[in-house]
Amino acid sequence: MANKNYYEFKPHNVGRWIIWGLFAAVLLVAPMLFRSSLAHTMLSQMGIAIIVCLSYNMLLGQGGMLSFGHAVYSGMGSFLAVHTLNLVTKGQWPIPVSLIPIVGGLSAAFFAVLFGYVTTKKAATPFAMITLGIGELVWASSLMFPEFFGGEGGISTNRVTGPKPLGITFGPQIQLYYLIAVYTFICTGLMFAFTRTPLGRIINAVRDNPERVEFVGYDTQKVRYIVFIIAAFFAGISGGLATLNFEIVTSEVVSGPRSGAYLLFTFLGGATFFFGPIIGGILMVLAFVLLSELTKAWLLYLGLVFLFMVMYAPGGIASLIMMNFRVAAFGRLKELWVSYLALAVTALIVLLGAAAMIEMVYHLQLNAALGPKLKFLGAELDAKGVNSWFGAAFVMLTGIGLFEVARRHFSRQWGEIQEFIEKEMKRRETL
């Protein structure tokens, strides 16, 4: 078949090489740009979160399976990994530390073979509810069986053990980071490759129309089951990496809120695009580690972000990016810069005013005894003073006004560009 008369993804596609090259480069240099030890653990956690969110999206985005219990698999991966690592420490099992995540992956896959059989018998709501039930059961048992789960204290371990090839002990965070980075790169690559395989395509078809899939020769249950196991495998790898990173595993890793976080952030990143969960994973770590450090009101902000994102960008951040890519592809992104700038600045002003007020309220509620004064972005606010409230309200209202002006302008511009693109596409089609 020498002369294919159709265009297809070729493994040697230049664009792809560039993108994957960039991805590798980012993984490589990130720890050199952010050097504090907190930054290094955060980067490590981001890698872990990226893998697990991507694996979650195999279910949600690619398979249309809404799971409320994905943490069961990443968590079981963690637990088995920690037990294995402790056996390694005792000298009973000669497994290099760098392969522990694979152990996590395999054990998660094992549990997926077990639980997944009943879970994937159903799709849609029954599927979601079975995962919820199994998730709750595993979580409840995790506290009841200290023999395996280590009780409240969990199980700790030491990743510095076994042979040390090239003097790599994985003691220093940076060494571990690079191990995680390698895993992140490979797993991302594998999961991307998966989307290009027959099974990867059929699972999309199962998502869209399971009934028809049965009539082209596939057993939908089996398709879901296999994908479920593969997703669990990658989740387990991330669990194993988390074991190495935190060196302790407690029952929270299988908890319902953890599963919920996967869902939330995968969606926020964008479930309809392959790279969406990567953004989601990064945001997850940022939100939990940084945002919560910055402000007591972080849960409120998180809730609001979700509310607005779901309402105005239900495709997640990835869809926003892709929309602009499309505009760029038609060469019209340049015109939007000013509008974007205006939007960003005015939105920032609104945020500033609103955040100042939120912070003052929180201050009044939580820290009133420390005096009415609080620091907000370097400025001093007086939570009991009319001036601060007036000022904040004023800033916010002006912001809202300006934002609205900018927004109207932008949406007109945007609409016009979309119209242009539609026309242009029609025109090209007829060529």
Binding site: T41, L143, T250, K296
Partner: protein, 394 residues
């Protein structure tokens, strides 16, 4: 040393469902630090900064990293043994891998005895040189409580109702041990472990207790699992004494008061009606924060730290940690000593009873109820042996 500022990183849930407790305790630490800054044996200034670990062990590790990055050398935590062990384990590893940058961990409320004993299995908690517990652990409290109960002739058949996780399992186990030693005639009328936080209605348990013929109930439950139990007992008209660990925690008194009169005993290292300095502090705290001051371990913690710093003539964590070993200071309730062998503070214990506050008594959470001490037990009573083999640096 004198005039230096000692910064302590406080890590406990400051948001989410357990925020109430964490925030109260952060305020307690800050209040005590403020009060004794420069007015202490070492003449240092204390500053306590809150980090929100959301009650999660893994998040605790992040906050610990953040704190260490920001130069904190003292951390304190108390809510939840899970987070406690995560922090301790991470502190151990940090200190081992970063000599010269050691961190000391003051545990003010996590009471899993495993943290001051030898490890049962690799990977489970064990004692550490960097860990100092200011509270009394589960086994010590049980010693105190059983010492009180053995003198109660009414107590003949006890029902054990606990949450099915390490703390609840330990409470049951230590009770059975201790009571067999002290009052072999006391029967265990029944025993139940229930999943933590899952029971919405305790009436079935109350029915079971009633059927068992128990004359008292012992529970390590906390939060909703405790208040709902008390309410259910009240509702069913089961008027038998309830021996508890955690009836005094933020929010629980309010909920208890809503349920009407019931006979509840608490074992703790303090109570709500201390006189003298601590009493004053309670009033001042109430005025300032509109909240109760009950984490007295903060008081002992600051006393202990400053005394150790004075003794070591340094604020270096290693030196201070060494100085704290075996150190005795005066607490709000007499002399207390940080036992060198396992870093467990040896202190007096109190049995208190929940009842309507008489004039002059402290109204807990403005409920009109209070915890009155009915028995004080000297430190030796509640002291328990340790299997810890402390590994000291250097």
């Amino acid at each position: 040393q004198k005039g230096e500022t000692v910064r302590i990183a406080f890590m406990d849930p400051l948001s989410g469902p357990f925020a109430n407790v964490g925030q109260n305790q952060l305020k307690s630490w800050q209040y005590v630090a403020d009060r004794f800054s420069n007015k202490n044996a070492a003449g240092v200034k204390f500053e306590v900064v809150g980090f929100d670990n959301k009650g999660s062990p893994q998040e605790s590790l992040n906050t610990l990293k953040a704190a260490i990055d920001q130069g904190f050398r003292y951390v304190t935590q108390g809510n939840g043994s899970g987070a406690a062990w995560a922090i301790l384990d991470a502190v151990n590893k940090h200190n081992e891998r970063n000599p010269g940058k050691e961190v000391v961990y003051l545990n003010y409320a996590a009471v899993d005895p495993a943290m001051t004993n030898a490890a049962e299995k690799p990977g489970t908690p064990e004692c550490s040189f960097w860990h100092f517990r200011l509270d009394a652990d589960t086994s010590m409290k049980m010693e105190a409580l059983t010492s009180f109960m053995k003198d109660q002739p009414k107590v003949k058949a006890v029902y054990l109702l606990n949450q099915n996780y390490s703390h609840g399992q330990q409470v049951a186990k230590y009770f059975k041990d201790a009571i067999a030693r002290k009052r072999p005639d006391v029967k265990i009328a029944g025993e139940d472990l229930h999943p933590i936080g899952q029971v919405k209605d305790f009436a079935p348990y109350v029915a079971k207790i009633k059927q068992s013929g128990a004359d008292s109930v012992l529970t390590g439950n906390w939060g909703q699992d405790l208040t709902l139990l008390v309410k259910a007992m009240n509702d069913a008209g089961l008027k038998i004494p309830l021996y508890t660990y955690y009836a005094g925690v933020t929010g629980t008194p309010t909920a208890l008061a809503g349920g009407g009169d019931s006979e509840v005993y608490v074992v703790a290292y303090g109570h709500s009606n201390h006189k003298g300095e601590l009493g004053e502090m309670g009033q001042e705290f109430l005025k300032k924060f509109n909240d109760d001051y009950y984490t007295f371990a903060t008081y002992n913690g600051i006393q202990l730290l400053s005394a150790a710093m004075a003794k070591a003539k340094s604020t270096n964590p290693v030196a201070v940690a060494k100085a704290m070993e075996g150190l005795s200071v005066k607490s709000f309730a007499g002399e207390v000593q940080m036992r060198a062998s396992d870093h467990q503070l040896q202190q007096p214990m109190f049995i208190t009873k929940w009842q309507k506050a008489k004039p002059g008594e402290y109204s807990v959470e403005k409920t009109g109820y209070t915890f009155v001490p009915i028995k004080q037990l000297d430190p030796y009573v509640s002291s328990t042996p340790t299997s810890c083999q402390m590994k000291r640096p250097g």
